[in-house]
């Protein structure tokens, strides 16, 4: 499973240690340099050098972004945890990791599950039996899954457009928040693009990898890659973590090659921006839309470097006053912050971001990651929207459709 992580490239400058949010709040965590390239040298000599404290790594990749030598520190740590950290994930970790399975079940019983999960007794029960912190707000499940809605209400109309893109919706859109997917389909249709879904879509694997379930993640990766190849189109995403997983974690952490399709998987805001910039599509925004928006860059989007596309799309909307928040980790790191033992660290890491948001006093926050959204909504008390949903709120669909008429058959 070991990939080329470039750990011999480390020149021991310690720059990575300055940018690690976990190191700042948790003295038990050895930090990226020691847990990553330094530790790897020892572990290669004797696996007994494996340090259990590596589990505290958020896999936020901020260390990698800062490293001047291109060492894939996060990958080294994740791979070490998978290789040497023999502990079998317990029920709680498997539940949090299997977003597909749990989501499917929960969606089916959403009206019952939502109030129960939100109730005090259930939270207390989950806290002491499962170790899911009772202070967490659980994202609500939707009663109609996105893929079900799409097949029922949207699919048949998609072929009237000349060009077609595929949408990788991810678990969050499918089980918790189908509205985001609906927003994207509406925008793309108005811009003259038809949308299809993958023949078979599985959870991208991020929660599986971070809970040590690499085999399950690899199974999903293979199914997703096969479907992406089959689709033969550009594949759009609305979640930065799904995007990073498909593009980088598959080859780097799971050892599954994707170089033939890697460039085709892109965030929807990047796709829209590039189409607008090239003049291929035209967007017309309502003139009565006004909002003061604070944009938060998720760690995984910073790693991709694509936050500029989301920012540019938001700036394109005439009535938007945009505050670009200084890039700070929100602290949740996917399923990490849901675990009882991590709750305090998670909130402490996020505090910098929460106070930046409070200072910016926006109408709402925009960001491209669903777990950042949960964390910010719960901890900073502000509504959080995906840039795609903001575009959908501000777009004049009628005018946009007319402007892009020539794209339809």
């Amino acid at each position: 499973m070991r990939q080329d992580t470039g750990f011999e490239q480390c020149m021991k400058c310690s720059i990575c240690t300055v940018y690690c949010p976990m190191m700042e709040v948790n003295p038990a965590f050895p930090g990226p340099k020691q847990a990553g390239p330094d530790g790897e040298r020892y572990r290669l000599k004797d696996p007994l050098f494996f340090d259990k404290a590596l589990k505290y790594c958020l896999n936020c990749k901020r260390c990698e972004v800062a490293c001047p030598s291109g060492v894939k520190i996060g990958d080294i740590i994740q791979t070490a945890t998978a290789t040497y950290g023999k502990s079998v994930p317990g029920l709680r970790d498997r539940m949090l990791a299997n977003t597909d399975l749990v989501g499917r079940a929960a969606s089916a019983f959403a009206p019952v599950v939502n109030p129960v999960v939100a109730s005090r007794p259930a939270k207390a029960l989950m806290d002491c039996t499962l170790g899911i912190d009772h202070r967490r707000t659980f994202p609500a499940y939707s009663s109609e899954r996105f893929d079900v809605w799409f097949r029922k209400h949207a699919e048949s109309g998609q072929t009237r457009h000349k060009d077609c893109v595929t949408y990788f919706h991810g678990c969050y859109v499918n089980y918790n928040f189908p509205q985001l997917g609906k927003d994207l389909v509406r925008i793309l249709n108005a811009a003259g693009y038809g949308v299809k879904l993958l023949e078979k879509e599985k959870c991208c694997g991020v929660p599986l990898i971070s809970n040590g379930l690499h085999k399950a993640a690899a199974r999903n990766a293979k199914i997703n890659l096969a479907s992406i190849r089959l689709s033969g189109t550009t594949v759009l995403t609305t979640s930065s973590s799904c995007t990073l997983a498909i593009r980088d974690s598959y080859p780097e952490e799971l050892g599954i090659g994707n170089s033939d399709i890697r460039e085709n998987v892109i965030l929807a805001t990047r796709f829209l921006f590039e189409n607008v910039e090239s003049g291929r599509i035209k967007l017309s925004f309502r003139d009565d839309y006004h909002a003061r928006i604070a944009y938060h860059t998720p760690c995984h989007l910073q790693k991709l470097g694509w936050n500029i596309y989301s920012v540019r799309m938001l700036e394109m909307i005439p009535g938007v006053e945009l505050v670009r928040l200084d890039q700070q980790c929100c602290g949740i790191a996917g399923t990490f912050g849901f675990k009882k033992e991590n709750y305090e660290h998670s909130q402490k890491i996020g505090e910098k971001l929460f106070s930046l948001i409070r200072d910016a006093a926006p109408d709402f926050v925009a960001t491209d990651c669903e777990t950042c959204k949960w964390q910010i909504e719960m901890s900073a008390g502000v509504r959080v929207l995906s840039p795609i949903s903001v575009i959908a709120e501000a777009l004049d669909f009628e005018k946009t459709t007319i402007l892009n008429k020539h794209q339809s058959k």
């Binding site: 310690s14 720059i15 972004v65 800062a66 291109g70 910039e277 910073q302 470097g305 694509w306 500029i308």
Partner: protein, 296 residues
């Protein structure tokens, strides 16, 4: 994506140049593959440390030194504007722009320096070696200032190649953005020296790996290193070739819309002359001045 100016690099030179341009309203992009030499900043900038009066010390600089290209009087003029520049970014610098003062180093010796963060005589701010908390803070603060002024900063992304049209650089491509080009009217190369991989050593010589700019170096490898530790180290002076206006040269031709700034420029020996930060800051201000002149 289109910008007025795109700066490759992300260290002191790139940030000073980017901030100067954004202050005047040009839309800039900085592409930085990782953190920079600023993380090891001692707390004092050096302009030239070989003598008492800086202007006089400069008279002894060899031909081809970046200060000579810029013009020694112009260097002093730009030097005068540096304290103001940092004050706008929230940093009070002590010391005179045209005279060195003496600083105690962490090693206990004394050193001639130009401008110091905080007030003179403060003990040097240093945490655990080798990272300097002050340098880290300055890197973050300058980046924040650049972004607050409206600039885009791509952190952890490497510029990999350029596209040329009619003798000019038209766009660059980066690792993270694959086939999506970044286009601009002007470009500044501030990718640093060997330490930051702005220059790399290959079997056929020294090369600048992004745009393949011409590099000045002695062709004979035997001449690269001085014998003793304190001897001249000729390789320190290696760097990309450029005109007196600091325009880059490629295949022997001047690239009229690509400037070079910082330690990537050849001709200086920052250790011997004590001019590392000086070259980074002064060349950045000089290049920004020219870009502004041409754009307004």
């Amino acid at each position: 994506m289109r910008y007025d100016t795109i700066i490759l690099g992300g260290g002191l030179s790139a940030l000073v140049c980017g901030i100067s341009l954004q202050e005047k309203g040009l839309k800039c992009l900085i592409v930085s593959s990782g953190q920079s030499a600023l993380h090891f900043f001692s707390g004092s900038f050096e302009l030239i440390s070989t003598g008492g009066s800086q202007r006089e010390a400069m008279d002894n600089l060899p031909d081809g030194h970046p200060y000579r290209k810029i013009g020694l009087d112009r260097v002093m003029e730009l030097s005068k504007s540096v304290p103001e520049f940092f004050a706008r970014a929230g940093y009070a610098l002590s010391g005179e722009y045209d005279r060195n003062h003496v600083e105690n180093t962490i090693l206990g010796s004394q050193k001639q320096v130009w401008l110091t963060v905080g007030s003179e005589g403060d003990p040097p701010v240093r945490g655990r070696l080798p990272i300097s908390p002050l340098g880290v803070k300055m890197q973050m603060d300058l980046r924040k200032r650049f972004e607050t002024l409206g600039g885009d900063y791509l952190m952890g992304d490497r510029a990999v190649r350029g596209e040329f049209r009619e003798g000019r650089l038209s766009s660059i491509f980066t690792e993270n953005h694959g086939s999506s080009p970044f286009a601009a009217d002007k470009f500044v190369m501030a990718t640093g020296s060997f330490f930051s991989k702005g220059l790399v050593s290959t079997p056929s010589g020294i090369c600048e790996p992004v745009l393949h700019l011409d590099v000045d170096f002695c062709p004979d490898r035997e001449d690269w290193y001085g014998m003793g530790f304190f001897d001249n180290q000729p390789y320190m002076r290696f760097g990309v070739a450029c005109s007196d206006r600091l325009e880059a040269v490629r295949n022997g031709e001047i690239l009229p819309n690509v400037y070079v700034a910082g330690s990537l420029i050849g001709g200086a020996d920052p250790i011997k002359e004590g001019c590392g930060a000086g070259v980074a800051i002064i060349s950045a201000l000089y290049v920004a001045g020219q870009i502004l002149e041409e754009s307004l």
